[in-house]
Assembly symmetry: C2
Homo-oligomer: 260 residues x 2
């Protein structure tokens, strides 16, 4: 698949994307992905066609096998300069990848993290969106690879816990589930929303707020999530360790069941 | 010109660019652009081929007419996920645009600015580079267009003066020329470097530092610059006004002479 070299998605990262895990027949979080993309498109002032989104997902499902679908929506072609065209013709760029999951050992015993030197850009105007400006994550992930960690913890500009390079993070303290707020940075994950909902259904108090490294250390359990990998316990961050907890295990099973 | 849909420049804004003003026969700031691109490529760990850069500029010059050349360098194609390939094959994407300059009246009497609501992302790891993560500027420029300003002033996360959406800014106080430091945000412009150099040659004291809005108000003259437009006096920011100063005029003439 080819795109025009003057596409603003390339020139300026002027667009957004969704990555959907597909079963053989359905995309279980399709409507959540559609809603998130619609909301981000509105914030960026990119026209969004919900029925086109659903048509692209239907096309992705045709082979009838579990996979990962990626849908990129950009503002389309434009001339030189940051000013968007008055009447943009958005580009839909759709790709299908084989489903690759974490190893059974990591899913059962948890993953080990390091703290990335790259902090997430402080940018309230972009916070929460899965936009195409992802150099923070590219830089952070290079360190993860060099260091040989499973994943990397990214801090925000104040040094508080924010997210992993491609997952959101939760910490449980007794009956309280805490995840960092995403007002100034971070991606508002589909699986993160699902965990918040599930946590409340299971009688936990779920809060978004500030999570310092020192507070994280005291958590009863820590886990990470995204809509492809599901739920992964975190067993180690640098020299700190946690036990795999019951909430992680239960949520992991419930999530996985959605894709059976 | 077409590029692969899995190019990381599109997927993540994983690349950098240079915009060069060309005369009929030369690219006067060619070596400065090459050096800036080389330095940014090194920071992002993207292989950079200096002779390829020069070859692309030579190609851009072939038509023998003044123009604007744009050279995008991305990390090239990659699979799904932020982790860069171990051995990337960078993409060179080169475009040629007609030269379009500001109107004579704006060049002579100055431009009028507003203050953009979008503040520049606070991101020391990306500061200074002309990378492809430009949603800050895209959002800010939309406000410039809606408001009918000539250009927009972008503040940094602390509310200090940083730059315009596509130009750097200078304020003169007596014999002192001050431009905002770019340690946490902003693009380190080729024309900005040239102005710093020229200012010193002309006996001014040139400093990079913090520039608050209130301090800007007291400037004897204010001007903006980039390597295509050259030097533009600033005559107005919201309700504040400045006279067009001698330094702006002299630097504008010197800059323009480079392209005659």
């Amino acid at each position: 698949m080819l795109i025009a070299a003057d596409d603003r998605g390339l020139a300026y990262g002027d667009g957004i994307f969704e990555t959907l895990r597909l079963t053989a027949a359905t995309a279980p979080f399709q409507s959540a992905h559609r809603q998130r993309m619609a909301a981000a498109a509105k914030r960026l002032n990119i026209p969004f066609d919900a029925s086109r989104f659903d048509a692209e997902v239907a096309e992705l499902l045709k082979p009838g096998e579990p996979a990962v679908g990626k849908i990129i929506l950009t503002r389309g072609s434009g001339g030189r300069g940051y000013a968007p065209p008055a009447h943009p013709h958005p580009s839909w760029i759709v790709q299908r990848f084989p489903l690759s999951l974490w190893q059974e050992q990591q899913r059962a015993d948890g993953i080990q993290l390091g703290v990335c030197d790259t902090r997430a850009s402080d940018a309230p105007h972009l916070a929460g969106m899965k936009h195409l400006n992802r150099l923070d994550q590219v830089l952070a992930r290079q360190q993860v690879m060099r260091a040989g960690w499973d994943e990397g913890l990214m801090l925000d500009a104040t040094g508080a816990v924010l997210e992993l390079t491609s997952m959101n993070i939760f910490a449980r303290f007794g009956d309280n589930l805490l995840t960092p707020s995403l007002h100034r940075a971070g991606v508002s994950g589909i699986a993160r929303d699902w965990v918040c909902q599930q946590g409340r259904l299971r009688g936990l108090s779920v809060q978004e707020g500030k999570l310092s490294l020192l507070r994280l250390r005291e958590a009863d359990e820590v886990f990470a999530c995204n809509s492809v990998a599901g739920i992964l316990p975190v067993r180690k961050l640098a020299v700190w360790q946690w036990q795999v907890g019951e909430v992680s295990r239960q949520l992991q099973q419930s999530f996985d069941a959605l894709f059976e």
